[in-house]
Symmetry: C2
Subunit: 252 residues, 2 copies
Amino acid sequence: MSSAPSLKRVIALLWRSQVSGEERRHPGPRPRLDVDRIVDEAVALADENPSAGVSMRALAGRLGVTPMTLYGYVPDKGTLLALMYDSIHAEMPRVVGEGISGVVDWVEEVVEVYLRHPWAIPVAYGRPILGPYEQEVFESLAVALRRRDLDAQTARGLVGTIFHLIRGTAHAISASRQAQEESGVDERAWWNEASTALAEVVPDFAERFPGTVWLVAESETDDGDHDYVARHSMTNLRTGVRLLLGGAAPGS
Amino acid sequence: MSSAPSLKRVIALLWRSQVSGEERRHPGPRPRLDVDRIVDEAVALADENPSAGVSMRALAGRLGVTPMTLYGYVPDKGTLLALMYDSIHAEMPRVVGEGISGVVDWVEEVVEVYLRHPWAIPVAYGRPILGPYEQEVFESLAVALRRRDLDAQTARGLVGTIFHLIRGTAHAISASRQAQEESGVDERAWWNEASTALAEVVPDFAERFPGTVWLVAESETDDGDHDYVARHSMTNLRTGVRLLLGGAAPGS
DNA sequence: TTCATCCCTGTACGGCGTAGACAGATGTTA
DNA sequence: TAACATCTGTCTACGCCGTACAGGGATGAA
């Protein structure tokens, strides 16, 4: 069950909407923390060890406070994640340059922000978070598409598709980096290990999967770059977005 | 640290490679379970309550066995998830029809399989699982692209991009359905609630985010379909894949 | 000075993945 | 048949997790 907090409460938190009561006029000790500090520290904590994520206990410890204290500021961990998620969107570029290239560049920058905060990627799925910063990012893409004279229906589909590509790309790159960091095995070494093991377990691989062999073998351009997954993924992303935007005619 | 099991062990498990010893020739009680049964039951369990996922304890209970028993068959939960993930790829269509439409139809069917097993979607990210069924699915797409005379480099990028779209679409639809089920609030009602709350908290929304308003308001075609998120997402997916494949010239 | 209010804490519950020691069943061998 | 090596499943326990609940102490208004 767990009963999520009311949507209104979450939205109010996201937009930091005070009820304009301004100054405190009531008894009781004044709070030692505030939402901004909690969120900032949570982001820092999550950034420092992306694999573990945040735990309420660890965050409280870092803030010099008992875990339960946090629940005075934030209704639950899900909401905290939403706040963290929205806050990193402040780092994303808002303005999109002219034309397709503008969008393509912007998309790449957005991915880079996600890569600085890999824990945020899974949060992005599902219903929109509806926070102010995510909203601004969304807005800037919407405006850019409107400038291209697309109809709203097409534009809306494009926005969704583009965000799928952004998140997918970011997810893939960050997973690769994380696996690399945890296992100490870099991408090339991992691939070697994997293909050796596969060859042993599935001796007739090449005959059973000729298409795969073709795809992988002939496109191998490692270049000795230890982060080539990121490079290739980014290139694919740019190509993909270019195709999507180029193909979506203003008339259609 | 948790130290993942050796890649070779995992691959051997995925391909159910026996060391060809065939019959048991050693003392000790014979196993009451086998990997297939565990995986099948785990998939069934996960399907039954997609929000909770599998826990080793719950799975053991369903198999009439102690949690620790499972570790005699599977090195850890991550590997179990990999096995489950690969197993559902057996349901996916292998053959891709001719031309772009063939791929587009196939993509849609793949999404539908993921939607029957929503827990599998997050597993898909990161390094490939390298199991036999996933491999076959991958292979069929690779072959279809080779038939279109793309060079391997382009094809490889396309495969990645298409899978991003598949997973993104599946993820979005399943998250929407799940939220709907958990909260009892359907998509339309949720949106009403959200926009009411937003209007209250951010009275100047329309002036601050005109692009968003344009995008959302003018493309609203609800039709009273309570699962319209799925319908729209699928349409966007088809459009996206069509644009990608249509734009990727054989020459390029 | 009284008192209502609110922040923070302590304790506790029920979950999780899984490490480690061990009991019992089993097939082979003497 | 008896001894033994081997393997399976169990029990217990550790250290995590999110968070419900009750209450202590500080605080400002009356």
